[in-house]
C-alpha cells in the first residue's frame, strides 16, 4: 500500500475520478477524513516528551501532596525502613506494585526484573537477586515474600517463543528467561494444543511457581519458612480483566511420629 510515492498516488486518484465521475463525492469525503486524521497526528507530535519536565512535575507533586502532608511518616522513614513485605514484580511499566497494591513508602522492599523471576541460589551468577533476598530476610526481617506475575508479560512471551537451544539471538535476555524453562515444559506438556495466548497465560502463573520453588534454594529463606517467620506467596495481576489472584507456597515439616 505504501509503495507509491505521494505524487503517484495523487495521479492515480485523479485518473480514477476522470474515468468514474460519480466517485468524486466519495473521494472528497475520504480525503477530508484523512486530512483530519493527519492533523491530529501532527499536533500530538508537536508536543514532544521532555523527561526532565516530566520528573520535575512528578517530584514537585510528590513533595507537595505526600511528603509535606505527612511529616511524621517521612520523619520516621528518614531514620530507617522496616517493611513487612518483599515483593518481586516485573519491570513492565504497567504493573508497579505501588499502584496496583497501593504500597506506600516504607511498606514493601521491591525488586523488579524481567518477568519477576527468582533464579536458584548461586554464589556467583545473578548474585544481585541473592543479595536482595538476603538483605530483606536477614537485615530487614520481612515477614512475607510475594512474587507477582502479570498478564501479557513480554518476558514470558519471549520464554515461550525463543528456541532456547543455545543459539542465542540476544546478549542477555534468553539467558535470563530460561530460568523459568520448567514452567514452559510443564505448560507445553499440559496444554500443547491450546492457543499461544492461552499457553502464555498459563506459563505466567507457572513461572511464579518456579520462582517460589527457587526461593527455597536460598538457605536463609528455607530456615525462615520452616521456623514460621517467613511466608512465601504468589500473585497474578490480570490487567486485561482488572483482576488479582493470590496463593501461597506451604512448606514445612510435620511433627515426628514414632511408628
Amino acid at each position: 500500500m505504501g509503495s507509491q510515492s505521494y505524487e503517484d498516488a495523487i495521479e492515480a486518484l485523479k485518473k480514477l475520478i476522470i474515468e468514474k465521475d460519480d466517485l468524486k463525492t466519495v473521494a472528497a469525503a475520504k480525503v477530508e477524513q484523512l486530512t483530519a486524521e493527519l492533523k491530529k497526528v501532527s499536533s500530538l507530535n508537536g508536543k514532544s516528551f521532555d523527561p526532565v519536565e516530566r520528573i520535575k512535575e512528578g517530584f514537585v507533586t510528590f513533595k507537595k501532596e505526600k511528603y509535606e502532608t505527612n511529616p511524621a511518616l517521612y520523619g520516621e522513614l528518614a531514620k530507617g525502613q522496616s517493611p513487612k513485605y518483599m515483593v518481586f514484580a516485573c519491570s513492565d511499566s504497567r504493573v508497579c506494585p505501588s499502584h496496583v497494591l497501593n504500597f506506600q513508602p516504607g511498606d514493601a522492599f521491591v525488586v523488579r526484573n524481567i518477568a519477576n523471576m527468582v533464579p536458584p541460589y548461586d554464589q556467583v551468577k545473578y548474585a544481585g537477586v541473592g543479595a536482595a533476598i538476603e538483605y530483606a530476610v536477614l537485615h530487614l526481617k520481612v515477614e512475607n515474600i510475594v512474587i507477582i506475575g502479570h498478564s501479557a508479560c513480554g518476558g514470558i512471551k519471549g520464554l515461550m517463543s525463543f528456541a532456547l537451544d543455545g543459539n542465542n539471538s540476544t546478549d542477555f535476555i534468553e539467558d535470563w528467561v530460561k530460568i523459568c524453562l520448567p514452567a514452559k515444559s510443564k505448560v507445553l506438556a499440559e496444554a500443547e494444543s491450546s492457543a499461544f495466548e492461552d499457553q502464555c497465560g498459563r506459563c505466567e502463573r507457572e513461572a511464579v511457581n518456579v520462582s517460589l520453588a527457587n526461593l527455597l534454594t536460598y538457605p536463609f529463606v528455607r530456615e525462615g519458612v520452616v521456623k514460621g517467620t517467613l511466608a512465601l506467596k504468589g500473585g497474578y495481576y490480570d490487567f486485561v480483566k482488572g483482576a488479582f489472584e493470590l496463593w501461597e507456597l506451604q512448606f514445612g515439616l510435620s511433627p515426628i511420629r514414632p511408628i
Partner: protein, 290 residues
C-alpha cells in the same frame, strides 16, 4: 437461620454482605451452597462484582482448617483491600487508558532504582502506569558488560532494543543500606562472606574515590558522597553496552542521573552529554529541586 442459594446467587458468592432487616450482615458459608447469617463484623461494602478470590467463610472456620498459617487470612484481607483501592481509585476511573495499555506498553522512560521501600520511582518521580519501565535492585547498581549477565542487564537489553525507550534514568538515594554495607566492608582481600557484600562490591571504585577525598568526614557524610559517586559509575557502566552507546551517540537515547535525599526531600538531577567529535562523556545540566 439457614439460606440455600442457587444458580446465579451462588455464583455471586463473592458479595459477602447482605442487607437483612435494615442492617448489614455477613454471610457465613456453611456448605458449598449453604449460607447463614452471621454477626455483623467489620462492615465493608465490596463492589457487587469482584474477581477477587472467593470468600473463604468466617475467620473462625478458616483458622480451624489452616491452623498452621495464622497469617494467611489477614494477608489475603490486606491484599484485597489494597487491590480494590487501586481498582476503585485508579483503574476503573481510567478504564479506557488501562484497556489501551493492556494491548501494548510503550514507555518512553526506563528507570533503574533501588529496591529500598522508601524510594519507589513511581512514587517519588510520579510515574503513572505505562510511563516507565522500572528495574529495581540493591543500591541501583549497574555492572559493566564485561562482568557478564546480571538480572539488570537483561532488562536493560529488553528496554533499549525491544521497547526502544528514549530516556534512561539512574536514581540513587540517601541512607542506602547497600552503600552503607559497601562502606562498612573492611577486608577487600578476602572473599566477601555474604551475598549482599559480594553484590555491593560492584561499587568498589566509587568507594575508593570517596575515601580519597572525604576520609576526614563522618561515616554518614562519606556514605552520602559514595551514593552519588556510585550513580556516576552506574551511568558510565551503561555506556559499556554497545546497543546503549550507539543509541546515545546517535541521540536516540538520553541518560540522566538522579539523587533523592529522603531526609530533606530534595532531588538532584543531571544529564550525561557526549561530545559529537570525541568519545568523551560528561555531566551537564545539573539542577537541584527542593
Amino acid at each position: 437461620m439457614a439460606l440455600t442459594l442457587c444458580g446465579r446467587a451462588r455464583r455471586l458468592v463473592s458479595a459477602t454482605s447482605i442487607y437483612n432487616h435494615g442492617c448489614l450482615q455477613r454471610l457465613q458459608q456453611t456448605g458449598s451452597d449453604r449460607f447463614q447469617l452471621g454477626e455483623a463484623k467489620a462492615i465493608r461494602l465490596l463492589p457487587r462484582r469482584t474477581n477477587m478470590v472467593q470468600e473463604l467463610g468466617s475467620r473462625e472456620e478458616f483458622m480451624q482448617e489452616n491452623i498452621d498459617t495464622e497469617t494467611s487470612y489477614d494477608f489475603l484481607d490486606e491484599m484485597r483491600q489494597r487491590f480494590l483501592k487501586f481498582k476503585r481509585q485508579k483503574y476503573l476511573p481510567q478504564i479506557e487508558k488501562f484497556q489501551a495499555l493492556a494491548i501494548a506498553q510503550s514507555p518512553k522512560v526506563m528507570v533503574i532504582g533501588c529496591a529500598d521501600s522508601r524510594v519507589c520511582p513511581s512514587y517519588v518521580l510520579g510515574f503513572q502506569p505505562g510511563e516507565a519501565f522500572t528495574i529495581r535492585n540493591v543500591a541501583n547498581l549497574i555492572t559493566p558488560i564485561q562482568n557478564g549477565p546480571t538480572e539488570t542487564n537483561s532488562a536493560l537489553e529488553f528496554a533499549v532494543t525491544t521497547l526502544q525507550v528514549e530516556n534512561i534514568i539512574v536514581m540513587g538515594h540517601s541512607n542506602c543500606g547497600g552503600i552503607a554495607a559497601l562502606m562498612n566492608h573492611q577486608n577487600h582481600l578476602e572473599q566477601p562472606s555474604s551475598l549482599v557484600e559480594r553484590w555491593v562490591m560492584n561499587g568498589k571504585a566509587a568507594k575508593l574515590r570517596t575515601q580519597e577525598v572525604s576520609s576526614h568526614l563522618s561515616f554518614d557524610e562519606q556514605c552520602r558522597n559514595c551514593e552519588k559517586e556510585s550513580i556516576k559509575d552506574s551511568v558510565m557502566n551503561l555506556i559499556t553496552y554497545p546497543w546503549i552507546r550507539d543509541r546515545v551517540k546517535r541521540g536516540e537515547v538520553k541518560i540522566h542521573g538522579c539523587y533523592y535525599n529522603l531526609s530533606d526531600c530534595s532531588l538532584e538531577k543531571w544529564r550525561l552529554s557526549s561530545d559529537k567529535n570525541s568519545n568523551e562523556f560528561y555531566v551537564s545540566n545539573r539542577e537541584i529541586w527542593s
